[in-house]
Symmetry: C2
Subunit: 448 residues, 2 copies
């Protein structure tokens, strides 16, 4: 792998990806995606979380951003003020844009779009997550770009897909709407029966990783066929797939009463202890309830006809009664004491950590799940590492999330534009040559 | 692509994957993973959901199962009784094992393990999701198998990874424990503050798709390096990555009060209507609250100092007050009426579907998310299709989930075993030549 400090030419496909020598040394074997070039039109979550994976594994990801405002996520609170007080960064933006290079282009300017067409022949992958129709309206649809490059993989993430009533209505997607339309929010309803969102990015993150899956599959297929293809994922489809373990039963057997859901079962629940909470899973033993009773020093309730079989135990009234019995007993000791007892009886169990504790837990640390990268304006920034551990070509956190247009000039040089062409693009506003100046939180809030 | 009915030889690497002509015709371009051979030791959810993706995209997945009992998931309720009443199938098992072939092998028998070593040189990928140490104790660890085949990709899914306190304690993983240790259950707590599991397989499914990601990355790396590598994912790491959009803020800024979480914000919530529920997202407009007020025919509450800025609105007491105001208004009309009004004002919104409705919604149908496959003992079985849509080499549902050892004989023939060798393995019980006879639900319940 080349250790040269000279910028690679975008035309040199298949060569090693550019390496930022200031920030990190590359793994000797190179990244799994070394040499893969990605033109990334995405913003906010779905797309950026996908292209960050590609970047972590060594792809050269060029993040196309609007001059001045950039990725919408840059305006999302909370903000982290620069050490010198000159501006701030959105921690949302920071969370999913490391290892990328930023090219600030005005896609509404004809010169900006012309630049994109000049870059596309050098690219392996184009990724976007606009509403259906936006890329086409810019002349950057799949049919437009594959004329520039038949090997191009054209990947799109959206709320609902590109066909069907919601896509045709050009309805925008959103985490909450994905959860609402997929049945997940209803399933997560509280005791009042009101559907409730799962309070994290389950829909966006799922779709992002599926988008990566599609891109990797298309890269593998291209190695055989020589041609690119279109890849589509949606928030809706991702969550429909996520629930298949439960929902294939319902699809085929209907709403037939199968008793209490596993997730409200007394043998699979979170209980309060004397000093906190414990998660308990009683399955995978020949006599699950009898074994839990033994562990907890309770009478063997399988002798009681209400709890004799797992089917009896799953009846809602019986399940509630058993939850109360187990719950009362668990209140008597500390979490640590119960974990030791439950483990000795081979009852699956674990601590219940607050979100602030989880990333500091010794197991998360052992797994290297928090990585630190030096940011020129903030200092050390903690990010969440790749959860995919490859022994030979591991993910790396090399460079901090870029400023808007930070690598504009370098990318134009690599693309072979003459100094005169570069100046013309900057002067007409079609591209912006970014520094690390950012709007302050005050400016952002004023946009409310 | 060969349309021959002759069984392929396992030794013919790179040839087209075997095609079951009885069930489906292959896509003309072949699958993205045509020719990739996978030896699959997984069971229950994490592993099978991963290898189903590989199978959907054309890999030949050989599911290694224990004779007689097979994948643990085969014993999980609910059960679907065969048309002829002779037995039943677990709908859990059915949900994630299509397109695979089953090889019934006793891994405790030396002859069974010898057979595995005979197969490994023909494989591209080995996948397992046992507790750490189990594959090694069978002599099937990475160091054992890469001696058989240095090109092998060795992929493992587990609860916690292969190092660190929980891995070293050989603690088993489980969906609920993954949610508990990652902070997700605490985040999903109800109003009583008791941590609550998200009632679906968010942890297992996330890890399964990350396992696919690792395998695809390793296949791409191998195309360049010529050697395989080890791939590891865990339930814990998957959910830590899933929450990074939220948690990078907390990691860097601490527990600093940033107001109410987005997911309990009045401008991003599920509300009751006159006849159901509506999900409403007020963001992405210059004046989000003013715009929602206008849409709902409410006074412009941004004139009230409690709600003047988004920061004011995010204060818990103000947020609750605004939820009550919006909630009261939305009760006055039907969901359909509100959707029309909200859309006219460019407020993001959507229906809130029950899990039974979601898969029948016109958008889910347009996306082809439910596929039907003919099962020899059950008839038409509905499964959830791949959410990753590739235009050139799409996923396919070709064959129903196999019976235990259904393809044992065919796989031994492909591996080049003589009829005498095959008979010896069957006679000593190291392999089982499966049919479609299954234990009945009664037998299963007795195992409680």
């Amino acid at each position: 792998m080349s250790q040269s400090h000279q910028p690679g030419q975008l035309g040199q496909k298949g060569s090693a990806a550019p390496v930022d020598q200031e920030v990190g040394e590359p793994h000797p074997a190179g990244g799994a995606l070394s040499g893969v070039r990605v033109l990334d039109f995405t913003q906010v979550i779905l797309g950026p979380a996908a292209t960050q994976v590609l970047a972590d594994f060594g792809a050269d990801v060029i993040k196309v951003e609007r001059p001045a405002s950039g990725d919408l996520a840059r305006a999302f609170a909370p903000f982290w003020v620069h050490r010198d007080g000159s501006g701030s960064e959105s921690t949302r933006y920071l969370s999913m844009n490391r290892n990328k290079r930023s090219l600030a282009v005005d896609l509404k300017a004809p010169e900006g779009r012309a630049l994109i067409h000049r870059l596309v022949p050098h690219m392996d992958v184009v990724v976007s997550n606009f509403r259906p129709g936006v890329m086409e309206s810019l002349g950057l649809g799949y049919d437009d770009l594959r004329r520039d490059n038949p090997r191009l993989i054209y990947a799109e993430g959206s709320g609902w897909g590109s066909r069907g009533p919601m896509a045709e209505g050009r309805k925008p997607g959103h985490e909450l709407l994905g959860q609402a339309l997929s049945g997940l929010a209803a399933k997560n309803a509280g005791p009042d029966g009101v559907p409730r969102a799962v309070p994290t990015t389950v829909s966006d993150f799922t779709a992002s990783q599926l988008l990566v899956q599609g891109i990797l599959l298309a890269l593998l297929a291209r190695a055989r066929t020589g041609v690119g293809q279109r890849v589509e994922v949606s928030l809706l489809d991702g969550l429909l797939a996520l629930q298949q373990w439960d929902e294939v039963s319902r699809l085929n057997l209907g709403e037939r009463d199968t008793g209490v859901s596993d997730h409200h079962h007394p043998l699979q629940a979170v209980y309060r202890t004397a000093d906190g909470f414990v998660a308990l899973v009683g399955w995978f033993r020949p006599q699950p309830l009898a074994n839990v009773c033994r562990a907890l020093g309770l009478p063997d309730y399988t002798q009681d006809p209400h709890f004799a079989t797992l089917e009896d135990l799953a009846q809602p009234a019986n399940a509630e009664a058993m939850r109360a019995i187990i719950g009362e007993r668990l209140l008597e000791r500390s979490t640590a004491a119960w974990l030791e007892i439950l483990e000795a009886h081979e009852v699956l169990c674990g601590e219940v950590l607050g979100p602030g504790e989880a990333y500091r837990h010794p197991q998360a640390i052992a797994n290297g799940m928090v990585a630190t990268v030096e940011h020129p304006a903030l200092g050390a920034v903690q990010l969440v590492s790749s959860p995919v551990k490859l022994s030979g070509t591991p993910a790396e956190v090399r460079t901090p999330p870029p400023a808007i247009g930070e690598q504009t000039r370098a990318i134009l040089v690599q693309a072979g534009l003459t100094p005169e062409e570069q100046e013309r693009l900057v002067r007409c506003g079609a591209v912006a040559d970014g520094g690390r100046a950012h709007p302050s939180p005050q400016t952002q809030r004023a946009s409310q």
